[in-house]
């Protein structure tokens, strides 16, 4: 196992390359999910605002 991690002496190179790539993939997934979620929340909030505004005007009438 330790021989595997050692990578014939090239451990820092191999693992940093693979690590950075993995990090990039994970970051992309996380960031895009966040964007999507925030967009849906924004849509939900605007619906609530419209609904409460409509209810307020109905009550006035």
């Amino acid at each position: 196992m330790s021989e595997f991690l050692y990578m014939g002496g090239y451990a820092p190179y191999v693992w940093s390359a693979y690590g950075i790539t993995l990090a990039a993939l994970v970051l992309n997934v996380w960031w895009i999910r966040r964007l999507h979620r925030r967009g849906l929340e924004q849509a939900r909030n605007s619906v609530e605002q419209v609904d409460s505004a409509r209810q307020a005007t109905v009550r006035q009438v």
Partner: protein
Amino acid sequence: MKLPRWFHLLGSSPYVYRLAGRLSPWLGAVGCGLIAVGVFWGLVIAPPDYLQGDASRIIYIHPQTAYVGMQAYVVLAIAAAIGFIWRLKLAHAVAVSAAPIGASFTLCALVTGSIWGAPTWGTFWEWTDPRIMFELLLLFLFLGYMALRAAFEDRDKADRVSAILGVVGVVNVPIIHYSVLWWNTLHQGPTIMKFDEPSMTTDMLIPFLLTMFGFMVFFYWLLLKRLRAEIVDREQGTRWLRELVTEGSQ
């Protein structure tokens, strides 16, 4: 000429949103699976190179990220051109989605290439290598596309102006590909993308292709997810989106 139905459907945001949502989990599963198998194969099963030793294992991620980055730019350019010519907002949405993902893959390619170059070429960077330089230019093109968009307040204008830049820059992609043929570079010549037998042994070729397809499918997964987020952003206030968020399903 009567256009097929799917052609019209692809111009409809709610349809594309739902279609992307249905395709996305499959792409994600296949992409992650291929990458996982390919990486495992490349790190564990594949033999080390007789010259480079275990450092050669970077061959299972570096060319892949570079290639997918180039493909991302082609997707951006084609989508931007379609959006510009036929005034299809969804096409522009695809281009917008491709840009940040392509930029991060290209950055990955530059970084992994630099790490790989240190023990094998003896240098982290080489300003006179054309392939490195044009790959760097590709990164600047992605960033330039995003920066130009950000400078415009009107989204429609941002779409159309940045589309021109996107299309102009696509000439860089074949330059990157052929740079190893046109110049004497540190990079070796093409091993896969040529009209010949691949010059790689099978036990390295398999993980190489696994990760290549894996990264490609992963890119399209990310693209569809980003496209969905982009559609939500552009369609704020529309009725279909309001109904979508109130019915509680995603």
